[in-house]
């Protein structure tokens, strides 16, 4: 590597190509904004209906609201379980219920995140104008789907627990049983609609 590139790397922190490609990308974004018109980024009357607010707000909402929310929710699943039972979900049950709770919650949450306008009947006027219908069915449908996710997960969990119990009991009646070849039940693939229960 030439000393010039090495010096540039030392001062700038990366290869000069890095700088060139980033500057090119900023110029292109600047061009896009100039076509849109800088004034169009901002809405004087309703500030939160501005393009720039939505663009930057998208990052804030994802990184500082949605992510912390679901990470904390997941963390409190274990913590809450411990608070109530005094043990981790893994500790006192033959099969951890953790993923059997996570999967339906995630599936239901994903649907709420994506399809909340219909579920909470937001934008009902424009919906009616466009379709001639109301958003009446969506809340019920989402609740039914959510119930289905939990029901399927419960069945899968019951089956996994039974399998695990048989596996543990198995060797006592049949010392040459296949238990060592089986996968742990908590890893068994279930196929509910919300994905796979592993």
């Amino acid at each position: 590597m030439s000393t010039t590139v090495a010096r540039a790397k030392h001062l700038y922190g990366a290869h000069p190509l890095h700088l060139l490609s980033l500057l090119a990308s900023f110029a292109l974004v600047g061009y896009a904004i100039s076509l849109l018109g800088v004034h169009s980024l901002w809405n004087d009357r309703v500030w939160w209906q501005s393009i720039i607010v939505w663009f930057l707000g998208a990052i804030v909402l994802h990184d500082l609201v949605l992510f912390p929310f679901y990470a904390l929710a997941d963390r409190s699943l274990g913590a809450g379980w411990r608070a109530v039972t005094g043990r981790a979900p893994e500790a006192n049950l033959s099969v951890s219920p953790r993923n059997y709770l996570r999967v339906p919650v995630m599936a239901s949450g994903l649907l709420l995140l994506m399809f909340f306008p219909g579920i909470i009947r937001q934008g009902s006027a424009s919906y009616l104008r466009a379709t001639g219908l109301t958003q009446q069915p969506f809340l019920g449908r989402w609740l039914l789907l959510t119930g289905t996710f939990f029901a399927v997960s419960a069945i899968a969990y019951g089956a996994a627990t039974l399998r695990e119990r048989r596996r543990v009991d198995g060797p006592m009646t049949d010392p040459d049983g296949p238990s060592s070849e089986e996968e742990p039940a908590s890893e068994h693939l279930g196929t509910d609609e919300g994905g796979m229960t592993w």
Binding site: G13, S21, F55, R82, G118, A130, W142, E187, G195
Partner: protein
């Protein structure tokens, strides 16, 4: 909400629920702003690797110019910022991030391409694409063909469906790199500053595009601004960030994908799931929690999320029985079993169509030739009728194929005295508002299946479907298939 959060800090019996997230781990002597501990083998890229143009920390004590600024930033860690040790998922690492990255690398260009094609479907040469002035930011313009008739149905359907299906993958990808948001110091050089700025384009871009798109297909215009304009320019910002991100990270992605075998990961159960080797980017936790999900489980979870979204949405585009599975979106709804019971786009009431103007007093005006021709509906019904099965497809990604009957636009052009018009201007009874008029290209007027439809499925059009007459043209976006037609001007 997806994102397979096998999350930070779980399954630790020895820690109470109130334990702060930054609790010192077993090696409690480490500084709180932890970085990869000394003596741990870090999968570092040699900084003199000529293929490596990525801005990457080469060590804790190496700063670019101006050195003092970056050191001072490093010394002023905001109180309360989660340390990298708060991120404890043993699944995070360059391999997993690269798997999600690779999936997006092959799929997002298809979403972008179909979106750009749909801009052309709206007819930029006829000045009816939105936004109007896009400078050089467009695919080469061409006249949108009328064949295959399902062309717009497929491009728009793919654009919307794939965009929806990728939501779980995008959330998972963002989850997997989240520790980088909280690393301190955030910057050690100008290179890192610029690279972080470029991430605003890609992260802001993808979330903005998905949020506006998802709201738009549900007719929830919460954002207030013009959807087309914002979604189009937002896409260019995203695509710019995407291209530069791929250019900078492609070598890292390839190297990371090679660091583990996918086949082996798919055979590794939870009990054998181990964290990846520590990486320079700090994705792999220095103090991992015991795994609660295998890596294959995480992939299945994300894939399952995408599958769920697919099952619940593709029906709006492909129709048939699949439409009944589109339970949570507007275009999965049934209108009934009658000939006019299919998806309505803008009701007659919403378009302020006065029923008295569509009755026996209605006349179709044809102009552009030697003189204006006025036709009533009975006369139109006596003309040669042509029937065609054509889809009507909309920007929200939905479509429905119906059997339309009416007079060929080409016959009307003949009647008007302009047998080979260069273009045609169709106007609706709808007073003003978006899409109350549309321009058609020559091929869209002369296609043998391009109709001024009077009937659908053997009966008169219903008011909501455009009675007394509507345009239907193969592969033309639904909003340009003007309803409640008042006049057609053929331009030579």
């Amino acid at each position: 909400m997806e994102g397979s959060d096998a999350s930070p800090e779980d399954g630790r019996d020895e820690e109470g629920p109130s334990q702060p997230v930054a609790a010192p781990g077993p090696t409690g002597s480490q500084p709180s702003d932890d970085v990869a501990p000394d003596g741990v083998a870090v999968d570092a890229t040699p900084s003199d690797d000529p293929t490596h143009i990525d801005a990457k920390p080469v060590g804790d004590d190496q700063f670019g110019f101006p050195d003092r600024l970056w050191r001072s930033v490093a010394a002023h860690r905001p109180p309360g910022l989660p340390t990298t040790r708060a991120f404890r998922s043993p699944l995070r690492g360059p391999w997993l991030t690269s798997v999600f990255g690779f999936l997006l690398l092959i799929s997002l260009p298809l979403v972008a391409l179909t979106g750009l094609l749909d801009y052309i479907a709206y007819g930029p040469r006829l000045h009816q694409s939105i936004p109007g002035n896009v400078g050089f930011l467009h695919l080469p313009f061409f006249n949108w063909p009328t064949r295959p008739a399902w062309l717009f149905q497929v491009t728009e359907g793919l654009h919307v469906s794939l965009g929806l299906i990728l939501v779980p993958v995008v959330l998972a990808k963002l989850w997997s790199v989240m520790p980088k948001l909280f690393t301190w110091p955030p910057l050690r050089s100008v290179a890192e500053l610029l690279e972080r700025l470029s991430l605003v384009m890609i992260v802001g871009g993808i979330v903005f595009e998905m949020a506006t798109g998802i709201l738009n297909i549900q007719y929830d215009y919460l954002f207030g601004f013009n959807f087309y304009t914002a979604h189009y320019f937002g896409a260019w910002v995203f695509m710019t960030g995407f291209v530069v991100h791929v250019a900078l990270k492609f070598p890292t992605m390839v190297r990371s994908l090679r660091s583990r075998s996918l086949r082996r990961e798919l055979r590794t159960p939870l009990s054998e799931t181990e964290p990846e080797a520590l990486d320079v980017d700090g994705l792999v936790p220095t103090d991992p929690a015991p795994p609660t999900l295998s890596r294959r489980g995480a992939l299945a979870l994300v894939g399952g999320g995408s599958l769920l979204v697919a099952v619940l949405t593709v029906g709006q585009s492909i129709g048939g029985v699949a439409r009944e599975a589109a339970l949570l979106i507007p275009r999965g709804r049934s209108y009934g079993d009658g000939p006019n019971d299919f998806q309505v786009n803008k009701t007659a009431t919403a378009a302020s169509i006065d029923p008295s103007t569509t009755g026996s007093s209605w006349r179709l005006s044809l102009s552009g030739g030697p003189g204006e021709v006025m036709l009533d509906r009975a006369t139109l019904m006596r003309m040669h009728q042509h029937t065609a099965d054509l889809p009507i497809a909309c920007v929200e990604g939905w479509s429905t194929t119906q059997r339309w009957t009416g007079v060929r636009l080409a016959d009307l052009a003949d009647l008007a005295g302009v047998p080979r018009p260069a273009k045609a201007h169709v106007q609706s009874l709808e007073g003003g508002g978006g899409f109350s008029e549309a321009w058609l290209q020559q091929n869209q007027v002369l296609d043998p299946d391009a109709l001024l439809a009077l009937c659908v499925n053997g009966v008169d059009l219903s008011p909501d479907h455009g009675f007394p007459a509507r345009v239907i043209v193969p592969a033309l976006p639904g909003v340009h298939c003007t309803k409640w037609v008042r006049s057609i001007e053929f331009v030579r």
